[in-house]
Symmetry: C2
Subunit: 338 residues, 2 copies
Amino acid sequence: MNRRRAPTIRDVASFAGVSVTTVSDVVNGKGRVDPDTRKRVIAAVDEVGWRPRRSARALRSGQSGVFALCLPQRDHSVGDWLLNADYDMALVAACAAAAVDSDRQLLLAPRPKDVTDLVRLDVDGVIIADPQEGDLALTVLNGAGIPVVTIERDLRRTDGWWVETDTVGSTYMVLDHLAAQGAERIALIGSDAPWAWFSETIEAYTTWCEEREWRPQIRLIDVNKPTTSAAAAVRRLLRLRRPPDAIFAQPQGAPLSVLAAATAAGRRVPDDLMLVAGIDGQTLQLAHPPITALDLRPVEIARAAIDLLARRVAGADTAGPEVVEAKLVTRQSTLGHV
Amino acid sequence: MNRRRAPTIRDVASFAGVSVTTVSDVVNGKGRVDPDTRKRVIAAVDEVGWRPRRSARALRSGQSGVFALCLPQRDHSVGDWLLNADYDMALVAACAAAAVDSDRQLLLAPRPKDVTDLVRLDVDGVIIADPQEGDLALTVLNGAGIPVVTIERDLRRTDGWWVETDTVGSTYMVLDHLAAQGAERIALIGSDAPWAWFSETIEAYTTWCEEREWRPQIRLIDVNKPTTSAAAAVRRLLRLRRPPDAIFAQPQGAPLSVLAAATAAGRRVPDDLMLVAGIDGQTLQLAHPPITALDLRPVEIARAAIDLLARRVAGADTAGPEVVEAKLVTRQSTLGHV
DNA sequence: CCTCCGTGACGAAACCTTTCGGCGAACGTA
DNA sequence: TACGTTCGCCGAAAGGTTTCGTCACGGAGG
């Protein structure tokens, strides 16, 4: 493999008969350059096959052109499947695509044991997906002056640098849909894990119930064992004197066990019990019956996050939170039984 | 936000009362350094809070310390779920983790429309997941002298730089298991899409059948519409005069539709029909009944890929293909009906 | 006493790009 | 003609690290 020394900007310059400064200016769209010269340079770049070395550029300009994505911290012992893989994967892929679209690259950063390692990434900015309440990583990165944007909000934060789902709105959407389909006693399976997404849903649900003077019926489950704890919750719910005729199951992984437990208890979905899931995924679509779910639109979220981070890196003072509306995907599990 | 200029190696050097060369030598374990001096330098590094700038290091040494992972090209129109997200996500996360463990970083590279863009990534090496047969990306990267390792093999390649599942072995494992559980007519739902994984499975299946003088029963489906085409295939299979009593459904997404279609046709799983899936995932585990599947062990695969690539980057001539044994996870869908 | 060699440390070049300030020419105006 | 301004382009420095070759020192061997 005879690997020639890669061409540098100097090669391009001499090929085009201009100075390196001019080449640099052309490539970066800075300075003043005669249109003809510009064309010549561009042709030379192509001809020589030159690409600016990212490291050199980064060294000089202080901007590496790389964003890091810090994946949500999900408990996944080796060999175990990640919960929520559908959503996460879509998010990750979309972030990468959006980064590339804006001529950047996306680095995947697993949550380090030591949060301070994040500072050493040497990237222009960091996206933190699903921060916990009072997330340490945020504090550390902010302290180091590294631009951060989060996907979903840390409730204690007010700086506006995040992308969020309209949790309250989408909760209402779900409940209204269920009511429209004839539900009269809607239960919520949620969690008290430290994510805003959970607490906001519970709040919205409670308010909604109050507005109609319905009695809220909430079950909090352990997000680390969503399947077993959700199943237990459902069994208890169905044993009530007046059991729910609809369930909104939010935590990842819960809806399927709800379906299973309900079926096992002899309830038919949707005839005896309607079911809505808080995050959509292939799994739900292939379930029997297919389960109505909230599509959180990870692709749009990713795009918004990259944009927001780009603006923050560029020095914008504030850009306000970006809200992405969820979409309710109705499937057989909520076909009305009116 | 008063962001002090980040400390450089020079600051460390003057703090420790040595030259920058010495600091560099200590940090990289090169050159000769007196043990006492070494300690002093290490202390200084900590004290000053210095971390080598990756870009500077990369510029000088020509090694960026970054690997790129090129995700499998799955058809995913926006808003559609990625097939196989469980496996992919595990793979991605594990690659990132393995990269970090070896003091590197992982860049996520979506397949560009123009394959030559891959050359411009400016990374030390590239991992291509699930290359197609005769993958163009490979040709381009090899041509540019960029080290590549693939996950799963391109059959036309013989250079040994890949990590592969023991497809033949695992196919035998599946079939033997089914036979042991009492199956007598095992059908295969596969694909003729251009991945070695498919063709090798078909070959192994055929051989296995020949060995027992069983009649092979193969249905090839469209991997881009696995659900509908798998369902159709199953319906046809079940209408045969002597329908199969077990199905090995390989393409991503197929097993669940097989289950659905079979149930719809009035067959009970596993009593009337046993079912095994070619790739494990959360979905299968939560299905009803849970479906036996091959765990391809993405975590081990990722680790092997990173290792292999590291060796290739380091200049090793060859390291032979790395084979990761799949594991059969038996679930209710193949509980014997003897 | 002189030479040789190993040890421990260092100075300066090199890596490739961006950026700052400057310079000559052309042009417009008085 | 003299002067000011804009245009188009350039030279050289800077950015932080690694690496190559060199150097001072002290002990061993002749």
